[in-house]
Point group: C2
Chain length 218, copies 2
């Protein structure tokens, strides 16, 4: 893919925000162009129209999300030498989960989450691109690690479902942010709060992995 021009980059970032808030129909090309310091007609020029911008925004999300998780994947790549053992997989899962919590609560994730959640509720081609670009890969990765921990007692299907429950524990801090803030009586989620969340999720994860490794019912 060709490098993005500054105008295209600004438009894509604004587009993720506006489409996430208002949807494909609800978002206004005029407003997006204004926020990106350009003109409505440049959307037609660069992306072929509103729908083209929408799909380009989805691709941009996949690339951005991949960049978010890259550091964690690099870190765990160093853990494995030869045949992966449950203890390695457990460490890798803890790294991934802690990293994802840090990513999820960041403000920069808010716009992307709005877009993706909306697509989940009413999937279009944009969802295909995001799923194929990053979500499916991450899910498979976590599921694979869970299988290792379980000594392959979990089959691929079960491992994927289990991976979703792990991810769900993290996602709620983004998707249910307003309820979390209210329930926890927080006004923001800063470094201290992140550590607190990470401790709780890590503790849950440890409990679940213990059971998986020892071979509880599944």
């Amino acid at each position: 893919m060709p490098a993005l021009s500054p105008t295209e980059r600004r438009l894509l970032e604004v587009a993720i925000d506006h489409f996430g808030r208002f949807g494909l129909d609800g978002a206004s090309t005029r407003a997006m162009a204004r926020d990106a310091d350009t003109l409505m007609s440049s959307i037609t020029y660069h992306f072929g129209g509103k729908t083209g911008l929408y799909l380009a925004a989805a691709d941009h999300i996949a690339v951005t999300m991949a960049g978010f998780v890259a550091p964690a994947l690099e870190q765990i790549a160093t853990l494995f030498e030869g045949i992966p053992k449950p203890a390695d997989a457990r460490r890798a899962l803890h790294i991934i989960v802690a990293h994802m919590i840090g990513v999820m609560v960041k403000d920069e994730t808010a716009a992307i989450a709005r877009f993706v959640v909306r697509e989940q509720a009413d999937p279009t081609e944009a969802f295909d691109r995001i799923y194929a670009g990053i979500m499916g890969l991450m899910l498979a990765r976590v599921a694979g690690l869970l299988r290792i921990v379980s000594h392959n007692r979990l089959d691929e299907h079960a491992a994927k479902l289990r991976a979703m429950t792990i991810v769900g524990q993290i996602l709620i801090f983004r998707v249910g942010r307003a309820a979390v803030l209210r329930g926890a009586e927080w006004t923001e989620i800063g470094e201290d709060e992140i550590k607190e969340l990470q401790a709780h999720v890590a503790d849950n994860l440890e409990a679940i992995l213990d059971r998986l490794e020892r071979g509880g019912s599944a």
Copy 2:
């Protein structure tokens, strides 16, 4: 509150759907009126305008959600006689979690979820009403049960955060439905699939509760 007229009821149901999909600004009063087999001006008459309908929809959601969880709450009410013991609380939590999964995957929940998730991303007075009406109560309920299981080692704050992680495991099957269907290679979530999800989440819950009751790190 007065009983709802048929027109009001239809308008509220359509409103939850449309506002959930398109947001307060994006939804069209004309389209909502059409889908509810009435006229745009009846929105003004019954609810004072678009914003009035929006807030009324939020109240309607709180009532509907309360109705959804009522059966589980009634069921667990019979469990407690005298001072609640950890074993009672564990049974109650399993009942609540299994019930919530059943509720979350139902199609009727989709529209409500869209509305609530949107409010979470950008809370307005509507969120206050839903949180005060039902969400906060359920969160407190689950947190209270977790505290009992932990022999009160969890304080109120920690128990609420832990409750959110439990709920997150369930919410993902609604909020991330498209990814779940794709990852699990399902085309729908029917009775068999619900049982499968319930088994996985129950297994996670059992692991987490074991650790909480025995007193792992928190």
